[in-house]
């Protein structure tokens, strides 16, 4: 069952301070309200994975790995490969992260990242079919949260995208019921590059890319994932507060703008 969490008592003490600073058009880490933290992305740091990417978003650190294996297609999509996204909130990342089955926060994060990739049709899954109805490639994206300093969804979404563009798989032939792998490697058939941008509401102000302290005092957040043609492909509101329709429209517009630079940055890492 989904249950109300206890808000951090320390965060509640800080609430007014953080709110007052934002009202002056500033942030506790001296950013402007619509400034994104510096993003660093490194591709291919795990050699055994087909693809991998590590993202630093300020002090938030997320590692994503892609593994490609074969499996049976779903009955309703016999001609398509399979995408699965999973997220681990690793205990070493934060004092209250616990080992064990995924909780609602990691499930929500994984599903928001999954929706971005799936709905933007980032991977052409029809090219990952080996034998229709029998055998297809399965693309596993595993997101590892290594250090939690706020805005995990954006960091995870960009790490997942980085790992996908970095991924290499063996080229193959399918003849008389058998797969033959060739020596050469190929990239995943990518056709879109979804980037999530999260904004949060604190008091009556909206800011982008919250750090942990801001996230702990936020009333709610809205993630808007945009693909390469500025089309929005996924959204998710979270938290116990509410947005006015006007705030939502403003957040959508600014997220579309913001995602362009970040997308360019991630794609430019390939080659």
């Amino acid at each position: 069952m989904s249950t109300t969490h206890q808000s951090s008592p320390l965060a509640r003490l800080e609430q007014k301070t953080i709110q007052d600073i934002i009202l002056k058009g500033k942030r506790i880490d001296e950013r402007g309200p619509f400034d994104y933290r510096p993003l660093t992305i490194t591709l291919g740091i795990v050699e055994k994975a087909n693809g991998s990417a590590q993202v630093y978003l300020g002090k938030t650190r997320v590692l994503a790995g892609v593994k490609i294996q074969t499996g049976t297609p779903f009955e309703d999509t016999p001609n398509e490969g399979i995408l699965t996204v999973n997220a681990e909130f690793v205990p070493l990342a934060y004092p209250t992260f616990e080992a064990g089955p995924p909780d609602e926060n990691s499930i929500e994060l994984a599903r928001v990242v999954d929706r971005g990739i799936r709905e933007s049709k980032a991977i052409d899954l029809s090219k990952l079919c080996i034998d229709p109805g029998k055998k297809v490639f399965v693309v596993f994206v595993d997101v590892y949260i290594l250090d939690h300093d706020g805005n995990l969804i954006d960091a995870a979404g960009m790490a997942a995208l980085g790992a996908l563009v970095n991924a290499k798989m063996q080229e193959f032939e399918f003849k008389s019921g058998e797969i033959r792998y060739k020596d050469s490697k190929m990239a995943l058939p990518m056709q879109n590059y979804p980037v999530p941008i999260t904004s949060v509401k604190i008091g009556n102000s909206v800011i982008v890319d919250p750090c942990l302290e801001e996230e702990q005092v936020m009333s709610c957040r809205l993630t808007v994932t945009t693909g390469k043609n500025d089309d929005v492909c996924a959204m998710q509101k979270g938290g116990l507060g509410t947005f006015t329709p006007e705030e939502i429209k403003q957040i959508i517009s600014s997220a579309i703008q913001k995602s362009r630079d970040l997308r360019t940055k991630i794609i430019s890492k390939v080659n």
């Binding site: 249950t3 929500e108 089309d231 509101k237 116990l240 509410t242 429209k249």
Partner: protein, 257 residues
């Protein structure tokens, strides 16, 4: 959720711009609401929204159990969204799926802003939503009915929460997608809204929409939420108005005796 949209192209709009079930683009499916449908729950409601059939029940405020989940300054709100195994085309395993776990969370977060939980420290308010038959838009119908169940339980609310989705079919923004439109359509945007507070408490989206389409769909679904909000109030009046008349009749009977 939207599965495979690529296979055979299905026409979702006819030459007159009408939809598969004959609706206009901005037309809601029929919505029927009933309050107080369960005997033992503190509050309950039933909704039929298109072919969705959903029961919602509320227990509480009651003592927090286990005790350690209690909060000192407010009630803990717990929510479970669940689909019956027979509610879908293919049997759904009764074990909670990742989808159901996520929806339980977003539904809780859509209802909590409306609950005056600060009046009930150390207690829990439990919300249970059972989808008996699913026909696209179950999370929205779930929110609409659960909000009524909260009111029926006598829990102080800031406002009722109404919910409805908009989406895109055959390239056109459309209200309240049906099952086939959801599966073959281009996008889905579920929204929960509190009209008096002008507050959106649930917002999700998947598919593909331009900025303008998205804004148009948002306005469309918010408008529909206002319509559903009126139906919610009507459903509450239907139950409690009758009861008051009965109570008054009893009073009169007592005075006369």
């Amino acid at each position: 959720m939207l599965g495979n949209k690529k296979e055979e192209k299905v026409r979702l709009l006819d030459d007159n711009g009408l939809r598969v079930d004959g609706r206009r683009l901005d037309e809601l499916r029929p919505v029927k609401l009933e309050v107080g449908v369960l005997e033992k729950a503190d509050g309950s409601a039933y909704i039929e929204h298109g072919r969705n059939k959903i029961l919602a029940a509320v227990f509480g405020p009651r003592e927090a159990h286990p005790k350690h989940i209690a909060l000192a300054d407010r009630a803990v709100v717990r929510c479970r969204y669940h689909m019956a195994p027979f509610s879908t085309d293919e049997r759904k395993s009764p074990a909670p799926s990742r989808r159901e776990l996520e929806l339980s969370k977003v539904i809780r977060e859509s209802l909590e802003p409306s609950i005056m939980s600060e009046y009930f420290p150390r207690s829990t308010i439990d919300i249970f939503i059972e989808v008996l038959q699913a026909d696209a838009g179950t999370r929205c119908a779930g929110v609409t009915s659960a909000s009524l169940a909260l009111a029926d339980a006598g829990i102080p609310l800031r406002e009722l929460v109404a919910a409805c989705a908009a989406g895109k079919v055959d390239g056109k923004v459309a209200l309240d997608l049906s099952d086939i439109e959801d599966k073959k359509g281009d996008a889905d945007l579920p929204v929960a809204f509190m009209p008096k507070s002008n507050a959106v408490s649930l917002l999700q989206m998947d598919g593909s929409m331009t900025e303008d389409e998205l804004k148009q769909a948002l306005d469309m679904s918010i408008n529909a939420c206002r319509t559903i909000y009126e139906k919610q109030k009507e459903a509450l009046r239907t139950k409690y108005h009758v009861e008051r008349e009965e109570a008054e009749e009893e009073e009169v009977a007592e005075v006369n005796a």
